[in-house]
Symmetry: C2
Subunit: 329 residues, 2 copies
């Protein structure tokens, strides 16, 4: 698998330097760390921090900025960042109102972020955390107890980030997240596997005519492998699974995010959301928010995920729609 890179072990370091060179009006890199922080300061407001393994770009650093994340902690490829890195981000980002950690549900991430939370408490910084587990494909996976956190995480960043910017205190943000996270569900289909730079070969094998439903963003196994289908048929499978999980009713208000996994062209993503459009019209749902693009990727994996959010509160939609200053939203 050919890649544009130098030494694999330096890929995250070089990526972050390239990112900050390009986007220095929005982000900075905390010296000696892999933490990307926003240049904007919001005095007296809760700082929302996320992070995890790298390889999902633009997640998470692309969502750092006014109205979304205060900082992103960027681990090695597909590997959780260490607690000391997370602690650096917390200490830097805290503006006196405390810090909320947004964790994707992987065992390593949960452990390291919670450890950083304890370390921060010892320094008298008020920290809490929320765990995103939007992937309805499987329970318990290669790196996870329970359901995995995937593309829906960026909707959490947007809504919680908007609420933090609006001045909600830490406790209310946590209550909001408890309502919000169960309202977001995602399911993916992979056409090909990602290649981790240090490994140099694809994480799994799919035949030239095969796809896999329910695959994770690190190549964790899904729930069914079959011959490739039309976009319409793949869209129907994902919608049927999400429908079972949401148990929706005619007229319910939803938002939709179609997410490319990394190597899937925008052309295919738009074809896919066109099929989703027709299926949701049949379901007679009120689709009040739509977004298409490669936001939560898995390196060079080809595939797509569909996230839906049940918009229970008018205010959630407003926070989704609010302009922000980030690299990638």
């Amino acid at each position: 698998m050919k890649k544009i890179m130098n030494e694999p072990e330096k890929i995250v370091d070089e990526m972050l330097d390239g990112l900050v060179f390009t986007e220095d009006s929005i982000v900075e890199r905390l010296p000696g760390t892999n933490v990307i922080a926003r240049t904007y300061r919001s005095e007296g407001k809760v700082a929302v921090i996320s992070g995890g393994g790298s390889g999902h770009e633009p997640t998470h650093a692309g969502f750092v900025g006014k109205g979304m994340l205060a900082a992103a902690v960027c681990g090695p490829v597909f590997t959780s960042p260490a607690p000391d890195q997370i602690l650096e981000a917390v200490k830097h980002a805290d503006q006196g109102a405390g810090v909320l950690l947004v964790i994707k549900n992987y065992t390593g991430d949960v452990m390291n972020f919670e450890m950083a939370e304890e370390l921060a408490a010892m320094e008298d910084i008020s920290v809490d955390h929320i765990i995103v587990n939007d992937d309805v494909a499987v329970e318990d996976s290669t790196y996870t107890a329970g359901r995995r956190g995937v593309a829906g995480t960026i909707l959490v960043h947007k809504i919680i980030g908007g609420a933090a910017e609006a001045g909600l205190p830490l406790k209310e943000l946590k209550t909001l997240a408890d309502q919000l996270i169960p309202s977001i569900k995602t399911l993916a289909v992979a056409l090909s596997a990602a290649t981790v730079p240090e490994v140099g070969k694809p994480g799994f094998e799919l035949a030239e005519d095969e796809i896999e439903y329910g695959i994770g963003i690190h190549g964790e196994p899904g729930y069914r492998r079959e011959k490739i289908k039309s976009s319409k048929e793949m869209a129907l499978e994902l919608i049927e699974q999400l429908k079972k999980n949401f148990n929706w009713h005619v007229g319910d208000r939803y938002g939709v995010l179609v997410n490319g996994m990394g190597a899937t062209p925008l052309m295919e993503q738009y074809v896919f959301i066109n099929d989703i459009q027709h299926l949701l019209r049949e379901e007679q749902l009120d689709i009040a928010f739509k977004k298409v693009g490669s936001y939560m990727t898995s390196l060079d994996m080809a595939g797509i995920s569909l996230t839906m959010i049940r918009l229970k509160e008018e205010q959630w939609l407003k926070w989704l729609q609010e302009p922000v200053t980030t690299i990638a939203w």
Copy 2:
């Protein structure tokens, strides 16, 4: 080559419907056409229109909106749109101040856009055109006499679009473009070929350890094929070629665009611009504008292009930096 699609011959039609479903606050599709027009109206200002074959998404429809293009004419994959489609875009977009057509330098595009210009003149619409030929790789190519138009085109859209929004008349926009276009130069390197949906196999073959410098956005041959190199070495090759073409001096002001060809992850694009950063520092240039992302793609091609723009005028930089309301800028 697996793709998320239905019938290949409907892929552009379905993509455009998906695009408009997703982005209906910014764009609309003119009924019965493959023209994407902005919903924003700028009375009394010149309308800038671009277009060409599809398969380069988000180009061009992603750059339709306030401050950039008034409309994009979307041809079949890698095939010029027909003159009647271009004429529809012109008739719709003209706000009484005339229309400027931005054409990438391919024989079919130039012919069809010029024919549409003649048809529009017969309907008393004031139309002129400019031809972008930023690719310095080769002279004369599979579909081109002279140099090809590639990723630098989006910088033309941005600056000319900004100038049109500022109220410059058609004649002055044309004069501006005559200065601007020779100041923009691009060079690409491909790691793998794109697959056109109706063809179903890659347009050319590169071995598992091969790259090709100077490849075009439709897979036109480049100037050299060799074993894959490090990002640093590939960056050096592109910079050396651009240096020869620009003949720059210490302290000159430039902008840089690193563009993913479709299947290349953002991680690799940032690693690449990090190497570009170091090389340009050695050259002691003043880099006043930077941008990274997959903007002028070639379906699922893996690879990258480097565009540089000599920022001769302070105002060009201002137009580059000005906020716009588009899907993809």
